[in-house]
Amino acid sequence: MSEQRTVTITVDGREIEAVEGEMLHDAARKGDVEIPVFCYEPKLGDPVGACRMCLVEIEGIPKLQTSCSTPVRDGMVVHTRTEQVKHAQSAVVEFLLVNHPLDCPVCDKGGECPLQDISMGWGPGRSRVIDEKRHFQKPVELSPLVAIDRERCILCYRCVRFSQEVSEDAQLQLLERGDRTFVGTFDDRPYVGPFHGNITDICPVGALTNYTYRFRARPWDIEQAGSVCTLCPSQCNVAFTIRDEKVKRVLARDNSEVDDGWLCDRGRYGFEMFEAEERVTEPRLKGGVKTDWQAAIARAAEGLKAAGAGKVAALVGDASNEEGLLVQRLLREALDSPHIDSRRSGGAGRETIVALSQPSLTAKVRDIDGADAILVLGTDPLHSSPILDLRVRKAIRRNGAKLVVATERPTALDGGAEAIARYAPGEAAHFVGELTKALGGEETVATPLAETLKDAGKVVVLWGERIAGAAQGALLGLADALKVGETEGAGLLEIPDFANARGLREAGCLPDAGPGLSEVAAGKSAEEIRAALEAKEIEGLVLVGVDPLRDFPDTPAWTEALNAAKFIVAFSTFETATAAKADVLFPLETHAEKDGTVTHPDGRLQRVRPSAERPGDIRPGYLALSEIAEALGLETGVYSQPTAFAALTAAVPFYGAISDEMIGGQGVRWQETEAAAKAPTAGAGGTASSDALSRRVSAETAPPALSGTEGSGLLLGTYRDLWAGPITELNPPLKFLQPQQRLEISLADAEGLGLASGDTVRVGQNGSSVEAEVLVKERVPEGVCFLAEGVAPGNANALLNGGPVRVEIEKLSEVSA
């Protein structure tokens, strides 16, 4: 990227410093000169200059120019309030209102409508139009979630550009021509896409409204509360629209370091589950008996104590950093038990984690924008961290980044990839090793990928936690081969399974690492905890925001393990099969209610702020954990969010320089604070360089290919579907998206097994089986099939057992022709 030059321009008599080449509209705003716009939205790509609202006078140019599309030059003199400009802008407002119904009193946008604001500020103030306006049927369903009122539409076509240039689904189109133009889809089909709600945010009029918000509130009834969505690791910044202490709407809150101002439909429409019947709203004892907090805490403390020192384990999932810190203190300090994990499918030891978390190896989200090449490895961002899917598309579309995909299952990003590799389930580590070798010049299966990646310059690797168990060490070798450590703007970015995975690990929720990834006496990992429960070596279990019976591999074994546990304390947002096994069940807050910090996979600490009232008798999780610890004789000093946060920054050395003010509304990456140097370095005693370590680790962990021919049946790969779980099961607006179990199978295998799309089959492995509908997919490799995790019924976790498994497929019924 070329150096940015600062230039000075004059707008309405005031001098403004601007970056050369930036659009005049943006530069003027820095000088507090507002130029009205409708179509201009830099997030959507290049300006289109369609609405003509931002016409201004530039000295030396006879015609008025659109400020949205005029790059600034040094010495430019601009006038935005001359008679000529006022006349033009007022004319454009008048034109926009020629066909606009002006039904503001019954329009949801009324009061927060750019068209209203600009009409008031720049319009003529009275209408000369007495002719009939255009009419459409209204409102009509653009999708089950979004209503479109085509009479209100001013055809800025922001929504169409979003569909075509941001989410790239190309479903929205401008149909017809001239003043008959309208926004629609081919053949009036519903607009379906995981990001489509964004069009309601960017619509500058009341043409696109959410069914979940229509007629629910007016702007003077509501408050906006800024927070962070923790439904996935993207941790997008959101603003909750609150009326009567309840969430009525979720809006994107632009943070270019995190979400680029977009929000997926999970985050946007997932809020109605906060009010679900299944919500746990007070402490309960076994059998669902409601109890009060004091009794619950006493019972929990008592039960855990009875399990015995060293014989309690904890699993942490959806929790804040503060909650994570307190769980591990409860375990390690109050119960003298080191068995704590925050990973569902294992992972490398502390040393590798420390090496991977070196600031020099970590990519930040913004690095994706400037990357020369992007490697998506063992994850499908669309399902696991949706907003990064858009970010990768943006990097390719706008900045010409080259994409390389290496996964088990076809991904949503395949279409834009220069090279794609499919490895068999369980082969991730081997593949990473082969890729590393290929980058070193050897001819391997990964050579086509290496061709694009080597000498690419800045490479960003997005890798999924699901390959961590086997391949985390190999990743260091890959990082070394790609020279990401030495390259500014390059790095690895993990897409973990849990939203706050990084924060929990750094808060000490790992079996062999304490707060700040410090060295501690090693405890058991999730997998070992399960075995130890079955073997009665561990008797007490604390579950915070995890649902092993839905989310962890090997459901039968986890059922055994939970049944074998003597005493379970669970913190859960909803009633789940796991929660039903708890002896004491505490409610968990949602991200609309919680107060605490989370850490983005790129190291950014963000604050989740309480926005809505907690239903029933819910109390903060950190308070409950602190009180249990105190009942067990451990004085935590945590009584409030500030004290909890202070405890966190005291315990995690590299969080030490971070204050609540620094986190502010946009968060702060710990790597960019002065305490970053306090991060542990790789190797014993913190002396070995990460380079040396990575070479060593890579040499160790490039396992040979698993023998692909062993056993019969197809190799099973699994993935977490974007829509699996409470988000669709307990959330009425998204219920229609609830995924059913589908067996994805290749053309050849389907033929071999006599299967066709739509057939019902039983997929079995070692006594367990699930039912699924067959979906023959061209891009599925031969010999492999895929099932989704977390869906009900038919959760694929029932078939997994820690390693690659082969499944037998039995046809139950054929699809009717």
Partner: protein
């Protein structure tokens, strides 16, 4: 037969059907000799200089110097394109149709030489879908030219390549706008793009692109063959060359006439085209297609040149004169004009989309008598609000003539308002009302 007052250069020998064949083109007018000369012995800069010195102005409407435009293309190794705009859609214009129909090889030769000047390796002729017969003729001619080695790889053994594709449009007026043409050619919805970047810098598929009208490119072979000085012997200082003028409307001999620019309008309209039928006089005329502000008989003695038309507050545009005689109702002509642009507005930018629609509604009210003179002020003001505020010139194309008509014939508009219904027969009123949007 050519009228002796004409100066036939582009239409030389056009009456001979054999001219449309490669053999005829070579035999009758010495065709493709210039291509041989240019490809074998001329440098890019030489051709550019000749074109620039000739002062050839674009014949598509804007009248920009063709040589200058070609010189704007960046130099260097990259894919560059040449597009011939054959989407002649302006009401009143039909000169390109004749040029392509009668002498397709002249255009192809022009394209090959212009491609050399622009260093373009790919050329397209974007022809409006309605010109089906002409597209067929072009297809045949292009095939002949490929066959003869004037197109394709290694033209005349000079190691230069040029691919030429005839692309048929799907029939939207806006696709004649150069950037909309590019979008349509790329397979997108034909909407104008924001300028800058201009096509010369970033055009088709993002590459530098030279876009010229059929007539402009047809002029190229002779300019390069005979030199700039030869070309400048025709026309005026600022409007050199000959021009094929389409004259239609209330004249006795409508058709295309190739003249030396600067001929008095009276000679064009009354002389060549024969003027209105006996007993009738010219009331108004569009001097440069339906988008040009109308002129009145007072301006009939002006020379027909780019500069004189601009001075008179109108434009030469594509060189298409539509004549209205004293039997024509100007308000109806205004409505007809406005309806065309309303129908063809792409809808991308606000002033054009809403302005054309609003203007049509107001003019309909005028004609129905449901207006007051104040509405005429609003109509005028709306035209002012459109002009200069749009993304492309389509909005202005309606605003300019409508504005001129309302201003120059205001009495007639007021009369129509006052006598609506009375002055119109039922058969005239009905189509107007039926045509109105529901």
């Amino acid at each position: 037969m050519a009228d002796p007052r004409e100066t036939r250069v582009l239409l030389d020998k056009a009456e001979d059907p054999a001219l449309a064949t490669l053999e005829g083109y070579k035999r009758l007018v010495g065709g493709y000799a210039t291509l041989e000369k240019a490809y074998r012995s001329m440098e890019q800069d030489e051709i550019l200089k000749e074109l620039e010195d000739s002062g050839l102005r674009g014949r598509g409407g804007a009248g920009f110097s063709m040589g200058k435009k070609a010189s704007f293309l960046p130099r260097g190794e990259m894919q560059k394109y040449l597009c011939c705009n054959a989407d002649e859609s302006e009401p009143g214009a039909f000169k390109d149709r004749e040029l392509m129909q009668r002498n397709p090889h002249q255009l192809i030769e022009g394209i090959t030489i212009a491609a050399l000047a622009a260093d373009a390796g790919h050329a397209f002729i974007f022809i409006r879908g309605e010109y089906d017969a002409q597209a067929d003729i072009l297809d045949r001619a292009v095939a002949e030219a490929y066959e003869a080695g004037y197109l394709g790889k290694n033209i005349l053994g000079t190691h230069r390549d040029l691919e030429l594709v005839v692309h048929r449009g799907a029939g939207a007026y806006i696709c004649g706008e150069e950037t909309a043409l590019l979008d349509a050619l790329e397979g997108k919805r034909g909407n104008p793009r924001l300028k800058p970047p201009f096509p010369a810098v970033q055009g088709l598929y993002g590459g530098p692109t030279l876009i010229n009208n059929v007539e402009t490119l047809s002029n190229v072979p002779r300019i390069v063959a005979n030199g700039a000085e030869w070309f400048r012997q025709f026309g005026t200082e600022q409007s050199p060359g000959t021009k094929v003028v389409s004259i239609s409307g209330a004249v006795r001999r409508p058709g295309n006439y190739e003249i030396s620019l600067g001929m008095p309008l009276r000679e064009l309209i009354y002389g060549l085209a024969g003027g209105p039928e006996a007993g009738h006089e010219v009331k108004a005329f569009y001097p440069g297609g339906s988008s040009s502000p109308v002129l009145t008989p007072a301006e009939l003695d002006l020379p027909y040149s780019f500069e004189a038309m601009a001075e008179a507050g109108s434009m030469l545009g594509s060189g298409s004169i539509i004549v209205a005689d004293d039997r024509v109702s100007i308000p109806h002509m205004a409505l007809r004009t406005a309806r065309f642009y309303h129908h063809e507005s792409c809808g991308k930018c606000t002033p054009c989309r809403e302005g054309t629609n609003w203007t049509v509604k107001m003019l309909e009210r005028v004609i129905r008598g449901e207006a007051t003179p104040m509405d005429l002020d609003i109509i005028s003001s709306v035209q002012q609000n459109i002009m200069g505020h749009c993304l492309c010139v389509l909005g202005d194309s309606m605003a300019m003539p409508v504005s001129a008509m309302v201003n120059k014939f205001r009495d007639e508009f007021e009369e129509v308002i006052a006598n609506a219904g009375a002055s119109l027969g039922e058969e005239e009123l009905l189509p107007i009302l039926q045509g109105a949007p529901a």
